[in-house]
């Protein structure tokens, strides 16, 4: 198996981008990543695109070819494949690209992640996101996506005495980190009281516990480690990659407060990287809801099960803490264009490991982990990256 490195990154601004189309966003992120990597169009062996629901958000399927076309590669006839795994679509695309290089089939691959969510109204967006849940046995009965995570939160509170304040602290921390990220949808601080008193969405979760509806795209260029010398992009190596699945429905799981897919994807990535959770310098985890970050740091082994809330209270995960989590602002503050999220996490980790994260730079960051979840935990991808 060949080693693989990230040699180029590109990101659009995240937010309500009324004047930007699906095509424009994809072209912007893609060209930024390609220019950053120093590869030419003819060097690209394949493209993989992560998009959860372009069909429902912008009425367009077949976006693998569309992205290649929008990026100006139609005449090069580059193989381009769209990958879908709900909110984990981006990192699934990344992993497919990674595997294609590791296996020796390709040398240079461009990965795109995109979602243009604001062209439909709020309730249509909610309904589309709910398609990541079990339509027949969850969504049909009126449960929403926030509702599923709210039930995880309620159970977590019941079993581990986690509080709404613990959840609020996740939002406050991620909003603080977001103030230092010029690409973030929200770049403003919020207080604990703001978070606690926000409009209820699905109790115990309020508006400030939820990631927003976001337009945005992200792209990275992957390259076989033995060919990085051919290109100018500053490399960061992928040293571990794991993926796991679980029941589509939350109620079908072994345990409501544990995302077993996270546990398994994490173990797989750690094993490949020959690392332990304590070796990780920083992590971008899937905080689609505040409770999700608490579960993630538990399920990835950074803290014991049930101690996620305490860890946040003890400031372990702040930018100055022993394990900074979501320095980008996370899904909560940076925004969550679902298909782009997994790729955007890799962009952030790469920036940090290259030392290019400006005000939010973690000193001496060498090893970073990205954790991306699809649905309420039916799909999970974990990647571990190392600076070179």
């Amino acid at each position: 198996m060949r080693d693989v490195a990230v040699i180029g990154i590109g990101l659009t601004k995240f937010g309500e981008l009324w004047d930007q189309s699906f095509r424009q966003l994809t072209a912007e992120a893609g060209s930024k990543a390609i220019l950053d990597s120093g590869v030419g169009g003819k060097d690209i062996d394949a493209m993989y695109v992560g998009s959860m629901s372009s069909g429902r958000f912008v009425g367009q399927e077949h976006v693998g070819a569309l992205v290649a076309d929008a990026s100006g590669f139609s005449h090069l006839h580059i193989p381009s494949t769209r990958v879908e795994g709900a909110c984990a679509s981006g990192s699934l695309a990344l992993r497919e690209g990674y595997l294609s290089i590791a296996s020796g089939v390709n040398d240079v691959v461009v990965i795109g992640g995109i979602e243009k969510m604001n062209d439909v109204g709020g309730s249509a967006a909610t309904e589309t996101l709910a398609t990541a849940a079990d339509q027949e046995w969850e969504a049909f009965f009126g449960v929403t996506f926030p509702g599923l995570y709210a039930m995880i939160a309620k159970r977590h509170m019941h079993e581990f005495k986690t509080t709404r304040e613990d959840l609020a602290r996740v939002a406050v921390k991620n909003h603080h980190n977001g103030t230092m990220n010029p690409f973030a949808q929200y770049q403003k601080e919020i207080s604990i009281d703001t978070a606690l008193n926000a409009t209820p969405v699905a109790e115990p979760l309020g508006l400030m516990d939820c990631s927003p509806v976001t337009d945005g795209a992200a792209a990275v260029v992957l390259c076989a480690a033995d060919r990085i010398g051919d290109f100018s992009g500053k490399p960061v190596k992928i040293i571990g990659s794991g993926q796991a699945s679980d029941t589509l429905s939350l109620h079908g799981r072994r345990d409501i407060t544990t995302l077993d897919a996270s546990v398994h994807a994490g173990k797989m990535a750690y094993k490949q990287a020959h690392l332990k959770p304590s070796d990780i310098n920083l992590a971008e985890v899937h905080d689609c809801f505040t409770i999700a970050e608490i579960c993630a740091i538990e399920d990835l082994g950074f803290v014991k099960k049930g101690e996620g809330g305490k860890a946040v209270e003890n400031k372990i995960t702040t930018i100055d803490g022993s394990l900074p989590v979501n320095t980008s602002g996370g899904l909560k503050s940076k925004g969550h264009p679902v298909g782009a999220t997994g790729v955007a996490q890799i962009v952030e980790i790469t920036k940090q490991l290259r030392g290019e994260a400006d005000k939010r730079q973690i000193k001496d960051a060498r090893i970073g982990l990205a954790h991306n979840v699809g649905g309420s935990g039916a799909t999970c991808v974990v990647n571990i990256l190392e600076g070179m």
Partner: protein, 135 residues
């Protein structure tokens, strides 16, 4: 939202009568019914027996939905719970006939036949189970 009539019609037995199945190899009960038992896999093939569940169970966790999908907007705020049924399986369903502040984890509930959603005022009406506290 599933508005397609055939898709709903196929599930009437599950939604009306909570028909699940049981692995003939390990006795685990599934709802909705599974083609095979994830624990016994090939040993369970052809041994999955149909059973009707009692509709009695206990709330494992719940939420109060304040921002609902379009079909449920008139009902907000409404509770949804994961219920562990007596026979073992866990399911997601709305809780009715219960004041929101009286809901709690561990509460005993039983199923009742209710309207779940409808395809507007001209489309099909979809019925199924909701749960209410046991007196």
């Amino acid at each position: 939202m599933p508005k397609d009539v055939p898709r709903f019609w196929r599930e009437i037995q599950q939604r009306y009568n909570m028909k699940g199945n049981k692995c003939g190899s390990c006795d685990r009960v599934y709802f909705p019914p599974r083609e095979s038992c994830p624990y016994c896999r090939r040993e369970s093939m052809g041994k999955m027996e149909k059973i009707k569940l009692s509709g009695k169970g206990e709330i494992i966790t719940y939420t109060i939905i304040h921002v609902g999908p379009e079909e449920f907007e008139e009902q907000v705020p409404y509770p949804v719970a994961i219920i562990q049924l007596e026979e073992g399986p866990k399911i997601t369903a709305q809780i009715v006939d219960c004041k929101i502040d009286e809901l709690k984890i561990g509460m005993k509930v039983e199923s009742e036949f209710r309207k779940i959603q409808q395809d507007g005022s001209t489309g099909a009406i979809y019925y199924g189970y909701k749960f209410k506290p046991v007196e």
